[in-house]
Symmetry: C2
Subunit: 762 residues, 2 copies
């Protein structure tokens, strides 16, 4: 413990020393970009140390080791297959970008490479998290033999590895690209625009990982249940069922690898978007340089890493700690990190910008507070400690229909607080950072509030990602026939994880909305920039000006060259309303396709399990081992096939709408899909979470407990909720950002093609 405190104090000193070395208040342009390397390396080294600690733990007896091995090889089988298909998609886009940049000069030549690295790092974050989770599961089960606390230590360390790898790799990718682009002598103000492409790479990968992983998990779940339990009458988690391993693999590929890629994307996108906004906002404000504003989000992220590392040291409890004490320990870790980041970021912003712009610190804090409020609201609506879920479980008394209606209604009602919170955070961030005087600075503040919300990701993700490890540990304890007390303890850890995960989800959803909001502005800036670039200093073609009459305002010098181009995205313009409507419907279509995908992939799984039972009768007798890997591969193939259509929808829709209706309709489309996507994401996450916990509430003894009619009704709710909360809901967070990224990256192409079309009619 002592050694750790010394280490933390040392890390804490880095920003303090830097700050004290400068005279405060003076406006200057210091280059703090090197500081990102500190954050990145600190996170990765810390993760590496934890990996060593975890791997030194005992993985248990032969049985637990074997089962863990099966889950591990299944997860790798999934990842192999996933990379094959996603690889094709990435190669296609990479080649397309090569053509568009080197061939047609429609985008920067760094774009193809930035895109590829974004995707690779996102995948890597998920992969490392998953690798360690599949090794920590058996160790957690074995540790839980000793005490609740030792189980928690291992599971939480595994979650922390994930958290640290995500933030570490994100900062590493940022640092590398910053160094490369600086080496090419690009001015700081142009760099973030290019880096957005790596955000698009990360988002694309994340969407595949979340959607594919989500489809996989639910397909395996349903397949295992329908053929195993219902048709063949063998119990749950029985090793004779070929889909059982796939079911456990699902926890790892969906809830761990998917979540890792997802949050890598959230984190990186929020930072990059804010950097891009900063590069634009500094213009026209005396005493502010682009570099200053670009540095703020990444230095906040870096002090966030340090705060998170410090926070993890406070997640400690005595060996005989109860569940309640452990919850307090977890929470105190998060709270202390929040406190650290609040203080450190104040110092950093003061150091970089001086006392005049401290409202920007307020904007960041607004995001941090909003994240917590959304988290609590999620917990209130989905935990069986509170009224909503308790009363939902009572609706199971009148059958499955009423609990379904109740759950949908609960989810819809639960959208109010998060939406109002995000709205208030946006206004506060905008206002505090001086948006009424300088709108661009205000939007930059909104971006910073998203960065603030995610700044403690290192530790909040840890509290979220340890849940699936505990869940897996429970499965292993059951299959390996360990002492029932072990299962009891892993269940306690799992339920603890559900509570802390609620907060984690709040951060993911809230930050997605704020980031997407900030990206709207970035897109607007990009449109103007592209129009200027494409048409040079000559006039904007008159047919374009005619077509966008009232939207583009071009002011010209006496000689006719463009002096300024500004946008007025009038909500009452039918071309804008068109975008709003189409954008509003897209998340619904996306959810529809992704939920249907779960059904189809489950069908494939059902066929495969039946086939194995028929091909080898020894499987059911327990004399031969079923082909777990093949089952995993089949479900993987199903998942990968089914995830393509919804993903393509996300990438293609804004491009097609842009080509037909122009870039301004796309702006409205992004706003429309942000609104419905955000609301739907909250609804689906909370309906799903509440059904899950309502079922658990009954399983813990209410309304007749396990096997009663109300329990059966609650199981129907839980099954409906699975794709809600684990497939479609979280994918929506990625969707709304990916659509913005795609629009930004393709803006030049869209304007040129739309130009040709309007020329035909103009």
């Amino acid at each position: 413990m002592m050694r750790r405190i010394i280490l933390s104090a040392g890390l804490l000193l880095v920003p303090l020393i830097t700050v004290s070395a400068q005279t405060a208040g003076e406006v200057r342009t210091v280059d703090m970009m090197w500081f990102t390397w500190v954050g990145s390396i600190a996170a990765l080294v810390f993760a590496f140390i934890l990996v060593i600690v975890i791997l030194r733990k005992d993985a248990g007896n032969d049985r637990t080791k074997e089962i863990s091995k099966h889950v591990q090889s299944g997860a790798y089988a999934y990842i192999r297959q996933q990379y094959k298909i996603v690889g094709v998609f990435f190669v296609f886009l990479f080649v397309l970008f090569l053509v568009l940049s080197f061939g047609l000069n429609l985008m920067s030549r760094f774009v193809p490479f930035a895109f590829i690295t974004g995707g690779m790092f996102s995948a890597l974050a998920g992969f490392i998290g998953m690798s360690i989770a599949t090794r920590a599961n058996a160790r957690t089960a074995w540790g839980a033999r000793e005490s609740l606390n030792s189980g928690l230590r291992i599971a939480f360390s595994s979650g922390t590895v994930m958290g640290m790898v995500v933030v570490g790799l994100a900062l590493l990718d940022l640092s590398i690209w910053w160094a490369i682009l600086s080496a090419f002598h690009l001015p700081p103000r142009e760099i973030p625009g290019i880096m957005i492409t790596f955000g698009m790479g990360a988002s694309t990968m994340a969407l595949f990982a979340r959607l594919g992983g989500g489809i996989f998990t639910k397909a395996a779940d349903v397949g295992a249940d329908l053929v195993g339990k219902v048709e063949s009458g063998i119990p749950e988690d029985d090793p004779r069922n070929p889909a059982t391993i796939a079911d456990n693999v699902g926890d790892n590929v969906g809830d761990v690898a998917g979540m890792g890629a997802d949050l890598y994307e959230s984190y990186a996108d929020a930072i990059i978007a804010t950097m891009a906004l900063g590069s634009a906002a500094a213009l026209g404000i005396s005493g502010l340089s682009p570099l200053q504003l670009i540095q703020i989000p990444i230095t906040i992220a870096t002090v966030g890493v340090i705060s998170s590392i410090l926070g993890t040291f406070f997640v400690r409890a005595k060996a005989d700690a109860t569940q309640r004490v452990l919850l307090r320990a977890l929470r105190s870790g998060v709270y202390l990190s929040t406190l650290f980041i609040a203080v450190l970021s104040f110092l950093m912003i003061y150091f970089i910008l001086g006392s005049q712009y401290m409202g920007i610190w307020g904007a960041m804090i607004a995001g941090l507070v909003a994240g917590n409020i959304i988290g609590y609201s999620t917990e209130y609506y989905t935990s069986d400690n509170y009224k909503p879920t308790k009363s939902l479980s009572s609706e199971s008394l009148t059958g499955p229909a009423t609990i379904i209606i109740g759950g949908i209604s609960l989810g819809m009602l639960s959208t109010l607080i998060p939406v109002v919170t995000v709205v208030i955070a946006t206004l506060v961030a905008f206002f505090l950072s001086g948006g009424f005087a300088h709108p661009a600075l205000g939007i930059y503040g909104v971006g910073l509030s998203a960065v603030g919300m995610l700044s403690t990701l290192g530790i909040t993700l840890a509290t979220d990602a340890y849940g699936p490890v505990a869940d897996n540990a429970g499965g292993i304890a059951e299959m390996a026939k360990l002492d029932p007390e072990v299962r009891h303890r892993t269940d306690a850890l799992d339920s603890l994880g559900n509570t802390t995960a609620a907060t984690g989800k709040g951060f993911a959803i809230g930050s997605a909305a704020l980031t997407a909001l900030a990206l709207l502005s970035t897109y607007g800036d990009k449109v103007i920039e592209s129009i200027k670039n494409l048409f040079g200093s000559s006039t904007v073609p008159s047919h374009i000006e005619r077509f966008y009459q009232g939207i583009i305002n071009v002011t010209r010098t006496a000689s006719g060259t463009i002096e300024n181009v500004s946008l007025s995205i009038n909500l009452l313009d039918p071309r804008i309303l068109t975008g709003l409507f189409i954008g509003g419907v897209l998340p619904f279509v996306f959810v529809a396709l992704s939920m249907r995908a779960v059904g189809r992939a489950a069908g494939d799984m059902v066929k495969e399990v039946r086939r194995q039972f028929q091909a080898d009768e020894g499987i059911l007798k327990g004399t031969s081992t079923p082909d777990y890997a093949r089952c995993v591969a089949i479900s993987t193939r199903g998942a990968q096939r089914e995830m393509i259509l919804p993903s393509i929808l996300a990438v293609v829709a804004p491009i097609i709408v842009g080509i037909i209706f122009g870039p301004f309709t796309v702006l409205a489309l992004l706003a429309g899909s942000l609104v419905t996507g955000f609301v739907l994401a909250v609804m689906m996450a909370n309906s799903g979470g509440a059904w899950d916990n309502a079922k658990k509430f009954i399983e813990n003894g209410a309304y007749g407990g396990k096997g009663s009619a109300p329990h059966k009704a609650a199981v129907v709710g839980d099954t409906v909720g699975d794709p809600f909360k684990d497939t479609s809901g979280p994918s929506l967070n990625i969707l709304i950002k990916l659509m913005s990224m795609v629009s930004i990256v393709f803006v030049g192409v869209v304007i040129v093609l739309n130009n040709s079309i309007t020329q035909l009619f103009g």
Copy 2:
């Protein structure tokens, strides 16, 4: 038949003669407002004749008469109770309006009275339709003894009465108010603005009728099933069950009275909104007067009435006609009406505006075509003749969870076509009516497309409203133990009704979206007008200008007085995004509250039925008659209590947001709730419809038929779908318009209060 054709020819001549009496092409201002009286009286007289025809039919034997009587008195019991509670609400608003207009001079003094008449006429339309439906039900059952065709004749006549009363009363109210306001020497251009208040009255009443009726129906349904079928083991539609009558009453108060008030509102709102837009659009266009543009929607409505009446004469078939032939007959009636209206409206517009503005006719036709497309799309997604619902019913094979997931996903997917259709209709209407040169004229075209979509309401509503009559007739046939062939025939009529109702729903949803879209612009105009009125010709207070910087653009004369005030509702402004988000979440909250209301009201019903069974053992033995009326009253009270919160939400939300954030945030709020409200309304209607028909598909023999496990799963889907399609979904159509109306009516109050708040901060 011959007599009818002569009558139709006579009516058809009215517009033709009027047209020929003028020299075409010449631009002049003719006053055609008298023509509305023709439409109104024609519709009401025709309805009156049909009522006499229906009442002359034989109501059957004592048993059918008695049951019909019970349903009737139940329906009246509901209406009595409803008026008590709605009355309180209306009196409150009436007094508030009196204070605001006479006391504080914040709105026109006609507002309180216009509001009251709008509500009264809306209620009256629903009431008359319901009265005749509760009389036609036994007659339809008795008629169906003879043939399918004679059953259809009676039910369809009852539906036609509803259709004609709705359009007749709407035009009557319009005519009366036009006459009154003209008598007070108000210039034509100011009249539509005041008439919007009666739109608000109609919408408020409609929301209560739809929501209350919807909650009532579903509460009675669930109550009857749970205690009657499940607890006491008596069959469905058994007269011993006190809630059985309530169940049948529900069809009448929800599907008939609720729908009548709803469509009265849609129809009146579309016309009034377009009149209001017309009064503004004519300004600044040489050769167009406000009166001309104001006249177009009402003359289209009037020729629509004539066309609808003509159309009904073609809904005829031989006595031994099959279901298929009858469907063709119904459709040919609608198609012919559509053809008539297309031709007649062309002549009318040509006559009123001359050849220069015939694009406006194109805008109207765009709406008519869009309505049909949305109708077909609804039919495709919800009819068991097509793939989506067929494959949905197959998902019942794997239990209730999969059919729920499938239905939600189907509903979400089905939103794409209606949204894209509305978007295209909007753009086409805007473009054809010259919106790129004169935006206000373009928006007027959008309003006209809504009027066009609803212009054949007289007959489309008839094809929609006869369904519940046939449904009731089936119940009566069952309870009165008529020949099973009768029930078979009423079922055939009912299923026919489902198909034609799909088209009707398409019109209701599509027109709601277009009307709400048009109302957005009206609201924008009203804001500018109010700011000018409130602050006179002096300057806009500087704190307001500062607060709305970038949104309001004020140009001044040299002396400092206001020359012009224009709006630029910039989508990227956080104050606008705030409105968009809050607006986007409101429909979700509304749906949540209304679905929860169904659950609670059903609970009341369950208690009442149990109480009656316990209080008098003779009821279950069949020796004493249960207290049907009390059961109806209990459920009514529950419904009325539960409908208050969601309704108040709709009225209060835009006012509160306006007071806090200002009228421009309200504009964005309306746009946001329009987008999500529209998409959710389509989704809920189609999910519900598909579940209903998937269940029927199984009952007709698929997957083991009635009583099989798949059937039970499908029943769960149907029960979930009930509040979707009959309570929350249709109420959303009203909600989005009511919110716009409320915002328009309260705009002055909101600006003054918001002014005080910004003064505090400014």
